[in-house]
Amino acid sequence: MVLWLIPLLPLFGAILPALLIRSGRDVCANATGFVSLAALGLLLSQAPAVFAGEVVRVSLPWVPQIQLSFSFMLDGLGFFFAAMILIIGLLVIVYARFYLDRADPMGRFYAYLLLFQGAMLGVVLSNNVILLLVFWELTSLTSFLLIGFWRHRADARQGARMALIVTGGGGLALIGGLLLLGSIAGSYEISEILARGDLIKASPLYLPALVLILIGAFTKSAQFPFHFWLPHAMAAPTPVSAYLHSATMVKAGIFLLARLWPALAGTEAWFLIVAPVGLATMVIGAWIANFRDDLKSLLAFSTVSHLGLITMLLGLGTKMAAVAAVFHILNHATFKAALFLSAGIVDHEAGTRDVRRLGGLVGLMPITATLAMLATASMAGVPLFNGFLSKEMMLEEAAHTSYAGITWLFPVLATLGALLSVAYCARFAIRTFLGPVRHDYPHHPHDPPLGMWLPVALLIVPVLAIGLFPGAVAGGLVALTAGAVIGGPLPDYYLALWHGLTPALVMSGLAFAGGAVFFLTQARVDALRRLFPRPEALTLFEAASNAVVVAARRVTAWFHDGSLAFYLRVILAALIAVGVYAMASAAHEAGTRAMIPVTLPAMVAWLALVVACLATMMWHRERLTALVLTSVVGLIVALGFVQFSAPDLALTQVSVDVVTTILMLLALNLLPKTSPREFSLPARWRDGVLAGLGGLGIGGLAYAVMTRDGTSIADYFLAQSKPGGGGTNVVNVILVDFRGYDTFAEIIVLGIAAVAIFALLDPRLPAGALRRVRALLPTQESGDAHPPMLVVAARAMLPLALAVGVFIFLRGHNQPGGGFIAGLVVAIALMLQYIASGYRWVADRKRLDSQAMIGAGIGIAGLTGIAAWAFGKPFLTSTFGYFTWPVVGTFELASALLFDLGVFLTVVGVMVLSLSQLSRVGQSVDPLPTPEQPMDLPLAAAPPHPQPREA
């Protein structure tokens, strides 16, 4: 349980600094520190168990189908890394409080930092490879946010993007690699995978899995040839560089190599790939570091070099090298974090971090200079510092390594790496802190406040303590961690200052002598180096990514050209191709179902439909004609429903068609009345052929189904309709009872559509649109907008229509009808009033608000459903009973009727709202005179007529 909290605490705690920044910077920093401290406390509470050799595990299934679980594991390696992440994190939090400027958004910074911390803890504590991947990607994302923290700076944005692309791309490879690994091992739990090393190494998939995992690890840990992103990531604020890009995130790749060491290491392939990559990175990084003038850039390349060193040690595959690797991870984390923080202080105080403009700072800021030079000595590998010990172990291992039969390669290159490392360390320390005092700094350098140098000092303590008493101070931790890496018994070794006159000591001596010479001749070497062309990573990377962007834009521009017709054409062609393929790859026989004989009326209707369809295609550019022809087709479809035993459908279709036609007419009033000829004749033929093929496919499919028998689940509904649902109209019972949930969702959708229509159509049109639309109005209008006969007929019909609506509604459960149809009938009767008497007249007299009707309808339907809960039944369970009243006799009441009432109200509201909104817009465009007093029925005293706004 505690284990879960360790990564989750910073992840969720990230909200605190973001919120608390309003209370001031100190509160914000304290809260952040407190979160880290709490996580550290939790970790340390587990220390006794871990040091006793236990592996603490917790697990909770997440998506068991893909073997993804929230499982965490705390062993020596995890503990080592987690402690490093939290302790250095705390120091960085303190440092950043004083480093960040007043103008920097500190809350955001600490929030990102905590997110990163949580993600990183997740990586080192995960016991499931998929979970590890999730956290791995999270570290890439948070690192992106932190590098780009100063988002106003172009180099920060560029560096962040590059880091994200490189590490994110590596993450993709890693996903593949770890999934392969999991499938080889038959489990995605890391503890299981580690126990099946032999099985994995014997698998034919071992090599692909290894290569993919290595790409992931190498990109993250900036190994050659992916090392180029790390120096550009230095655009981040210095605390970030110290934390992410020296102590923690870049070690994630190395962590992964160490974590999977028992499962993957020890093979020929492992050694042949990992060791030389590490060696090359070590030498190249150290070489470039010698020619960097920016302190942070110099440190960045030195980090690359040291990461290479650790990678090489892990790559050697021997247990002794693994111990050395662990030891160096510890040492490097201490001295490099101290160096980054010192470089930040120099930059902060002196106003520059260019080596050429620095010098003599030891007199101006003695504390910082002393601390930084101690750390540099450790980095150079001077005896009595911790860097010396692990470097000696590295040289010792390299001295015994023969690569592909070449015995001198590793010893010589390792010595060269050490030599170059001595040289850049000398350059860093001497050029910055020693020499004559300069007085041309942008600021007046002096030692920073305690909060800034104390973290550095605290990091120097282990540098010296381990250097002097390695066995006593770090022996236990290194043994514990190395034991977890190796996953077996430790080799025979002891951490000590003096091992006698070993080959390593000789190599070390050579490195110091050579390094001194190199430092002194640096300027001449640099001049010589500049004669040769040097590939510039940034330009190459930018060129490559720009090429990808341009290519992507071209593809997008081609596919996504903004033309709906083009998209639909592509989709249609693809669908037809799939259909043709499916048809061609199956056997076909004629159906055996007996066909219904053709009757003359059916033939006539069919002919009318064919003519209407063809005519629509021919004359669709005359929009009114197209609309009329569409309603003809709709009417014939409704007749078809009548013919084939679907009275409910026929009623619905007819009434919906009326509403749709009115709606389209209203819209057409505001739109151009004709469509211009858009495409050339061949293009129209192409569209015709596509459409014809589509129609042929659908028609053929329908025919094939109709001429075959099939089974249906209808028998259940037919049998249960009366006893279960209490109604004889099975269609209606299905709608309001069996499938009531669908209907409920449907009326909600309808309501949403109506509200969207209301919101989309603002009757107050912009002046430009008003001008354009008015230009489209017909020049000739009928003489009388509101003919008295129509007005009188419509008003007389209203009560009649309402009575019909009620009748249809009430009989719906047993006979054709129901809420949908009744709603449509009533809506049409109301619309007729709008048409006859004008929008304004009806709006003035309307008592029921359409939106309230929609709300009430959905509300009633929902409450009917909820009422079932009161009887311990599931949502929308219906009930019915028979009641006997005197005079009336016995009748039935079903709760489904109430539900149907909800449907009815919603339908009326939706229809009236949509159409009245459209006519409101029409009214604002073309204000028609409101009927005058004499035209009104004398019974109704008309209220004063508010004039239309435009008038």
């Binding site: 050209d561 033309s563 709906l564 017709a565 054409r569 249609l572 069919w606 439909l609 064919v610 295609m617 669709h620 929009r623 197209a626 569409t630 709709g634 479809v637 078809g640 679907a646 409910d648 459908l649 279709q653 509403v659 709606l663 819209a667 505001l670 739109l671 469509s675 858009e678 596509l690 459409a691 129609g695 659908i698 028609g699 053929g700 499919l701 329908a702 025919y703 109709m706 099939g710 209808a714 037919l718 309709s721 099975v730 269609v731 709608l735 449907e746 309808l750 559509a753 109506a754 969207a756 229509i757 159509l761 912009p766 430009g768 649109a769 354009r772 006979q815 054709p816 949908f820 229809m911």
Partner: protein, 132 residues
């Protein structure tokens, strides 16, 4: 009779498809209406064709399949909602841009109907109208 229904479904589909491939919003909307007819009829046909056997329970009668009918009934109503929404979207687009083309090349629209008040200008214009 099946042949007639199938061919009618096919023809309505073809008409709908042809119309939605046009470059103006109104034919596209009409085309969608045709496609709704076709799809509804197609779904209905999945229950096979039966004459004179409506799914109203009476003593000892045989019935047609009620389920496709129930599905189609809601489909008809929902298609109205969809059509109404698209009509209004098309109308709004026309009012905003002065063009009812279904592609995004506003330059063409400007040629046809004069400069379109788009974005910021339109908003300012409307605000002005509201204040007036």
């Amino acid at each position: 009779m099946e042949m007639l229904v199938a061919s009618a479904i096919g023809l309505m589909t073809a008409t709908g498809l042809f119309l939605i491939l046009q470059g103006r919003s109104f034919p596209v909307i009409v085309g969608l209406t045709f496609l709704s007819y076709a799809v509804n009829a197609f779904l209905f046909a999945m229950g096979r064709l039966t004459v004179d056997r409506p799914p109203i329970i009476t003593a000892g009668a045989a019935y047609t399949d009620p389920l496709p009918q129930a599905l189609v009934l809601t489909a008809i109503v929902i298609s109205f909602g969809m059509t109404a929404l698209i009509v209004v979207l098309g109308l709004r687009g026309f009012l905003e841009t002065g063009s009812d083309r279904t592609d995004l090349s506003l330059a063409d629209a400007a040629e046809e109907h004069g400069p379109a008040p788009a974005g910021e200008d339109a908003r300012r214009e409307r605000d002005g109208a509201a204040r007036a």
